[in-house]
């Protein structure tokens, strides 16, 4: 609460253009993802919002409070941020397994696939695993929420049965909210009857 008040005061001072000021210089940079995706950030300072959405697009707030936008190079960003970037944890990985219609039983193919997924999960030290169940669009929202959770919990039990510590695996259901293959309502679609296994 106190920090909020301080922040509000700082914002007030920043808004008063004629007041002499001396702030810590700040730098905001959009970094392209490994897959080439370029994100967007919106930096609001002294009541002004500025959008940055280009590769290595940068905004600096100078000691006098002035805002300068520029484009940096990969090397410039690396020189400043290498320590922080190197400490980013490994990117989360995701696996998908499929279920029989209306049931919490894996398909024959996915039962085989589970062994491979398990081998991948075991490679990570202290894995955080989240199993997320999905359904196709057959049936109502409540029915599918329940079925998707049953699928996730069933898979969680299987992972624990294979030797992964139970307190490292969570389960959740998304019902029919996130169809892998978009369909109309009440369409039986095997590719939508699935669980995602996300590991961090």
């Amino acid at each position: 609460m106190k920090s909020l008040a301080v922040f509000a005061l700082a914002a007030l001072l920043a808004a008063c253009a004629s007041a002499p000021k001396h702030v810590a210089p700040e730098l905001f940079v959009v970094v392209p993802a490994k897959d080439g995706h370029i994100g967007t950030i919106v930096v609001e300072t002294a009541g002004q919002k500025r959008v940055i959405n280009t590769a290595f697009g940068a905004e600096r707030i100078q000691t006098d409070g002035a805002v300068v936008q520029s484009t940096m190079t990969r090397d410039q960003v690396h020189a400043i941020f290498a320590d922080a970037v190197d400490a980013l944890p490994g990117r989360p990985a995701s696996f998908t397994l499929y279920f029989l219609e209306g049931k919490d039983e894996l398909t024959a193919d996915s039962r085989v696939e589970l062994e491979k997924v398990f081998a991948e999960l075991k490679k990570r030290p202290l894995p955080d695993i989240m199993v997320i169940g999905h359904t196709d669009s057959v049936g109502g929202l409540a029915y599918n929420d329940k079925l998707s959770l049953a699928r996730a919990e069933r898979l969680r039990e299987m992972l624990v049965g294979l030797g992964i510590s139970g307190d490292r695996v969570g389960a959740a259901g998304r019902g029919k909210r996130e169809l892998l293959v978009p369909t109309d309502d009440n369409v039986s679609e095997p590719r939508n009857r699935r669980v995602e296994i996300n590991v961090r």
Binding site: P25, F28, V30, V42, P89, L126, D128
Partner: protein, 149 residues
């Protein structure tokens, strides 16, 4: 006697951490501390993170955290990063993540809540508020540069 007290504190910490973890320490190099309320503790890999924890690094420190929506946040040396608010609904993907970089350097990759609703993640600095629409970005608050010669 001191050892017993420390052990008791660790046990209490671990017990509390199980209750409402929003993330986890995955990388910890050099001097890295986590402040929770009045208690400060060296950050170890595997330790749980809770809303309102503060991550502090020394001159040789850096640390990386994962969050329940798959957001990743790391900090470099001489940094202070406070997690002001965090919530994430695993069913709807609604949530909010508000953090403050008081000083130092931060790198981040936004997660599922930002995919669901752009700018659900916000990073405050002494002079600005940054809304994150996705995905990878870095922020520096260069406190040393403000110290007058």
């Amino acid at each position: 006697m001191n050892k017993i007290l420390v052990l008791a504190a660790v046990v209490a910490w671990t017990g509390a951490a199980m209750a409402a973890d929003i993330g986890q320490v995955k990388v910890s190099k050099g001097d890295v501390q986590i402040q929770r309320g009045a208690t400060k503790q060296a950050a170890k890999v595997g330790m749980g993170i809770q809303a309102s924890d503060v991550l502090l690094t020394g001159s040789d420190g850096s640390a990386g955290l994962t969050f329940t929506d798959n957001s990743l946040v790391s900090v470099g040396p001489n940094s202070v990063f406070a997690i002001d608010r965090y919530s994430f609904d695993t069913t709807t993907h609604a949530g909010e993540f508000e953090g403050s970089l008081k000083k130092g350097k931060l790198a981040a990759v936004s997660g599922k809540m930002v995919k669901q609703s752009p700018e659900a993640m916000k990073i405050r600095t002494p002079s600005a508020v940054m809304g994150v629409r996705g995905t990878e970005f870095v922020v520096q608050v260069d406190e040393q540069a403000t110290q007058k010669p």
